[in-house]
Symmetry: C2
Subunit: 563 residues, 2 copies
């Protein structure tokens, strides 16, 4: 089943609306603006009116950091979306990076464990609920479009950017679970956006920084990323995000601006030839953000924008308002065809009709959204969402290695423990969230010694020589997603910690990764490793319970963690 | 020509000395102590006497950081070595990490550009002088043993630890040049130590942190590392350092303590079977430092030490003074044989005889050392050394890519320049030495704008929009060796800089790596790249001259920098 056909009434609305639009309005539909980058205060209604008159954009991205006024309150997001919906001549879509629940973007809503945790739990019903609850909370807060779920595959363990933002390295599992998340979203009023086409996870680099390369062969691609894409499309995903990712097998000999790789975001062969024609995707193609490093080296602004549109992109993400003048000029001088523009706008309007925003959101109030009470869903529903999140947290924790049978620990015998905070500090940033783990240990009444500075390297040995003994030692690891580290591996202070921990002679540390599932690559000597995938609050609490045998380890590794 | 035979007189000294030694003295010969880790002030003569009586070690490692009193003065090093030579019952050797000239260890002596720069200059005469001048300065400062030259090969561009500390990726070139450095050293009174056996540069990790793996096949190994080792041995290298590096083809199925890789430092197959027997090395085998992470995970202290000695090691580097008790016990209960111990001590005494320390250094004054005047070699010789260093600095600078013919710059046209300091800060450490480059630009009278903070990413564009224009932009990159980063790649702030620099629309940056030669792996969009290999003072000055066409780029890349 591809996307289901529109009703006659919806189809008429699309065509009438399309005909009613000026050139500038058509262009505006193909731009997604960034609510956090408006040149005035976001709640200034008069300024918003003037802005939308001048720049009649079709959709806004909003996120946790971007509306200063909101300060993480769902009601503020909803009110702001409603305000704009009332002002705009045509219905707007509001998108967000709702990758791990609506809490990914809105502080008062529910943050779920990341996609890789979902893959570790490996349950299609949970995956459907992951999407469903994201949608119910998200739409209540004004969102109609999730830039999620991730459909990338973690094929290169060094990949620094999709680490826990994807469903593992197995295409069959990823296809099954991502399709379930997508259905859960779309059946509850939130458009899904599979990302990133043609697939991240093969390169060791990050397309925020440079154009990356998916270097698989055609055959390899079709049996991995192609399989996932086929599943998403056949099950009716409404939108697809192209990445600043090249696919050499398809561009071979094609060249382009300069001699560098050709990112999908400007590649007609990838966006139109492969995604649209060969895979048959008939929904909206959204580019990844156009201020990313992976896009910026593609010619000058005008060339980049026109190449991006002409390759088959329907909506350009954050091109900035110079977009209007460039596109008007390009349509006028024929570099962009008006037919092609209308074809994109038609798809965008079809998406809006599918989501019912043309009817449900008219005037500002979204009649299909759940109400918010005290900034949350109504109590019964809110409880369901939070229970789901906690269940997933418990189901994902994975015992990767337990060579000496050290786990579970015996609560009767373990009184004093050591925590080696591998990277409480990385790049000078302190990760206070690591303290969640220590607090959970202390809450059990344990005596906790903490090592979080690694010079001298021999500190642990000195402590031992002064008579200190521990019943267990933990080495938790964390590195934030989107931290722009260009690596997921332990570097700097965390690397020094690996050296320092080996100076202990009376205790062997239990590794716990709250980030990359591949910690054994850099700390192969660990006898014991638990993967917990994130510092999600429930996950941290339940990880400690699992360490002490109060709940079982239920996750199964969604990647080959022991390479 | 292997090492030349000892004279009859030398041979007699060796045998007599060997016979005169107590068990504890024999054991002491096989330990290299760390001058910076004495449990008292280094110039406390009475304490030194008591220490050497209790721990009659055979050699000391001394380095820039280790003698507090010295504060980088060559005379203090020489005096300290002389003091100990006078106290010790048997002649001592003094080693240092004299990898890039004696200035690597002693501030008042001459620091050379690193080995990779020597490979870029690719001149066997320069290589010989590299060793010769290291020896003349080093021996004048009390050193008789360089833990150099590096004989590793940079086969994995991600290797984080030998980056510029080796002679490139071509075995033939590395063999030729490292043998010349070694001859230059040994023909001027300084024992060389080829390192690290069986060869670093294949792994992406660092044996300071964990045991690393040289994963080449037997055939690949012999055509690369084996070729270099064969050359060093046939030309008479006096010592070889084994690394905490495993060689799976030789250990296949051998196992060991735990199921981890077997580092050469405990591997009889590598140290005795391959190095000693198959390659025929008859000099001293020194282990790498035993407090490194790559060694610490090999069983408990006692097991590690005994395995290290028994596998064929002659001298253990920094085992700490518990070594004496462990070895005495092991000889007593037969785990270490007295014959094996004497065989190692004989080789160590032969090395001392070869260097003439038994005669030349008796009583404290080294009659074979050059004198020091004002803390340097005598003026004529000092000038030669510094001229050599500057010549090498000029010869190494490599124009890796010049796609648009941007270099050399026209001094008439370039008045205002931008410097994007890619990682002035990494891991919270500030690299003030990066300022050398800016100072050289300012000294030319250029107006220099500096970008060294990368939030917001759009700063460069904002500057441009305010009307600023540059005639050229430079993106210098640096990461210190031994920085324990576990990576040589731009991470953190440096990665963010790569994104940020692409926001400029009026200028394309010229990349200059003062570290890894592989910057194009992470910044492939650079049209122009210069590799300068280090922030060596002359090199930085001459790099700026080359950028402006005043001297030619003379280096040729010693690695495949454009992969």
């Amino acid at each position: 089943m591809m996307q289901k056909p529109l009703s006659k009434e919806e189809q008429e609305w699309v065509e009438e609306t399309l005909e009613a639009m000026s050139l500038r309005e058509l262009i505006g539909q193909t731009m997604q603006d960034h609510a956090g980058r408006l040149p005035f205060k976001g709640d200034d209604e008069a300024a918003l009116r003037r802005y939308l008159e001048q720049y009649p954009v079709g959709s806004f991205f909003i996120g946790g950091e971007v509306i200063q006024k909101a300060a993480g309150k769902a009601e503020d997001y909803r009110d702001w979306a409603g305000l704009l919906q009332g002002i705009s001549r045509f219905p707007l879509l509001f998108s967000g990076d709702l990758e791990f629940g609506a809490g990914s973007a809105v502080r008062s809503l529910t943050a779920f464990p990341p996609l890789l945790a979902l893959a570790a739990a490996d349950d299609e019903d949970l995956a459907y609920e992951y999407g469903k609850y994201t949608a119910l909370e998200g739409r209540a807060a004004g969102f109609t479009w999730a830039l999620a779920p991730g459909t990338d595959l973690l094929l290169n363990w060094m990949n620094p950017v999709i680490t826990t933002r994807c469903l593992g390295d197995d295409a069959g599992q990823a296809a099954r679970l991502s399709a379930a998340v997508m259905r859960g979203m779309q059946e509850h009023g939130l458009a899904a956006c599979a990302k990133h086409f043609p697939g991240d996870g093969v390169d060791y680099r990050d397309q925020h920084i440079i154009t990356t390369v998916n270097s698989l062969s055609e055959e390899e691609w079709f049996s991995t990323y192609g399989q996932v894409a086929g599943e998403m499309i056949s099950q009716g995903v409404m939108s697809y995000m192209t990445g600043h990712i090249a696919l050499p097998w398809i561009e071979d000999g094609a060249g382009g601006a300069g001699s560098g790789p050709v990112p999908a975001t400007v590649s007609e062969r990838i966006t139109t030839g492969l995604l649209r024609e060969r895979l048959g995707f008939d929904g909206v193609v959204l580019s990844d953000a156009l201020d990313m490093g992976g896009f910026l080296s593609w010619g000058d602004y005008t060339q980049r924008i026109i190449d991006c549109f002409n390759c088959g992109t329907d909506v350009l993400l954050w091109p900035g308002v110079r977009y209007f003048a460039v596109m008007e000029q390009a349509v006028e001088d024929g570099r962009v065809s008006r037919e092609r523009l209308k074809a994109s706008v038609r798809r965008i309007l079809e998406l809006k009709a599918r989501l019912g925003v043309h009817a449900a959101c008219a005037g500002g109030e979204d009649t299909r959204a759940q109400p918010l009470l005290d900034d949350k869903l109504p109590p019964g529903l809110d409880r369901q969402v939070r229970q789901f999140s906690r269940e997933l947290a418990g189901r994902c924790i994975t015992l990767v290695r337990n060579r000496t049978g050290q786990l579970p620990l015996n609560p009767q015998e373990v009184r004093r423990v050591l925590v080696i905070m591998m990277n409480k500090v990385t790049e000078g940033r302190r990760y206070e969230r690591m303290n969640l783990f220590v607090e959970q240990l202390k809450a059990r009444g344990l005596e906790v010694d903490i090592l979080d500075e690694f010079e001298p390297l021999t500190t642990l040995r000195q402590w031992e020589q002064s008579g200190v003994r521990w019943d267990a030692a933990f080495a938790p690891y964390f590195l934030p997603l989107h931290g722009m580290m260009n690596t997921a591996r332990p570097v700097g202070e965390a690397a020094k910690a690996i050296w320092a921990m080996q100076h202990a002679e009376t205790v062997r540390p239990i590794g716990i990764s709250f980030a990359t599932p591949y910690l054994l690559q850099d700390i192969p000597f660990l006898d014991t490793l638990v993967n917990a995938y994130s510092l999600h609050e429930d996950t941290v609490e339940l990880t400690v319970k699992a360490l002490f045998g109060e709940i079982p380890f239920q996750g199964s590794s969604p990647v080959k963690a022991e390479i």
